[in-house]
């Protein structure tokens, strides 16, 4: 038997909804685990990818320096990088802040917001610096495949993942192509 594939996943500026959808493949997870092992993923809480993995699934867009670092780490360590969900593909809901300046967003939350006490914009050096805008993944690294949807359905994720693991074309059939 050929050696098992390795899969890594992460959520950047997303809501983990895509990961919930991944868990929604239900008993097909067992089938997947016959063919592949999970490396870094919130599912197993492994924090960094060791070596090279075959498939990287990235949920969420880019909103701060840390998300860019993680995405670049994934690009360097994944043979195939898959952009998963509307936030990864377009920036999604978090990118609604792009119509406002970062300064006005921070002031609205931490200075002028309803019920704010001890008003100041958080500046702890451990906090990753926010980007001027929220960006889709393919504007920063090369992305190999895309799975749209908010979230993509479990069937759509299974279609793409099982295709990539077994070397088939991961193009979604019309019934599974959704942006909402």
């Amino acid at each position: 038997m050929a050696s098992k594939r390795k899969i890594a996943t992460c959520s950047l500026a997303g809501c983990f909804g895509c990961h919930m959808s991944l868990l929604d493949i239900d008993e097909r997870l067992l089938e997947l685990l016959e063919l592949a092992d999970f490396d870094r993923s919130p599912i197993n809480d492994i924090k960094e990818i060791k070596g090279i993995v075959d498939i990287g699934l990235v949920e969420g867009g880019l909103c701060n320096a840390e998300t860019v670092r993680v995405l670049q780490h994934f690009r360097e360590h994944c043979r195939v990088l898959v952009s998963v969900g509307e936030c990864a593909l377009t920036g999604g809901i978090p990118s609604m802040r792009n119509h406002l300046s970062l300064k006005s967003c921070l002031e609205e939350s931490y200075i002028r917001g309803v019920g704010v006490e001890n008003a100041h914009i958080p500046d702890d050096p451990e906090l990753p610096l926010l980007l001027d805008k929220v960006y889709p993944l393919h504007e920063v690294v090369k992305v190999d495949y895309y799975v749209p949807g908010c979230p993509p359905s479990a069937d759509a994720l299974w279609h793409v993942l099982s295709a990539l693991v077994t070397g088939r074309d991961p193009h979604l059939p019309p019934a599974l192509l959704k942006y909402d």
Partner: protein, 246 residues
Amino acid sequence: MSPDTKKTFQLDGKEIPFREGQTVFDAAMAAGVYIPHLCHNPDFEPHSSCRLCTVIVNGRPFASCTQPAVAGQDVRSDTPELNEMRRALTDMLLVEGNHYCPACEKSGNCRLQATAYALGLQDSHFPQFFPRRDVDASHPDIILDRDRCILCGLCLRISRSVDKKSVFAMTGRGITTTIVVDSPSGLLADSKVSREDEAVRHCPVGALMMKGEAYMVPIGQRRYDVSPISEDSVREFHAREEAHNG
């Protein structure tokens, strides 16, 4: 059978009959062949601006919604090259506006979204523009959300030729083109628009919407959730022809 009905042209190798004066688009749809389109609504005058319905006629590209059918011409529509161009055009329309499908009330009823599905647009090639555009929610019944406008011009054409009000116009050029409203304040509330107007009923996207009606049909059970736009458009076209022919 009148002599006219015998006239045909070739569309992707298939014999398509047409009536004198019919466009390539109308003849194709009447014969059950879907040609992707966005700025065109067969109920109204064609505009040929979105170029999605472009076909190759005897080796040259034409917008099928305005191109008269001519006997014996060779028309190509469903080709890899044309579909790639249509995907690119649709992708550009998506990145030029602010199209948040997951948060849009029009999702499932949107022709832009449904056309992207029909073309199999699964990936993203262009940087997002994230333009800053104004929303006009001043009217009690109607909302104008320019974030979602694709400048198809349908509201202009219908308001002018059907409603006889000319409420809408376009201003600016190129990427700064935008829809404006004919009223002293520039707001819908001060214009002659009303909920009975045809112009506010045919927006292909969620730019012009009736207030209070957005969620009457749940997401997942909407027009293009139930039936792909390729089938829906042909069915709608046939129903229109039947109604027209009595």
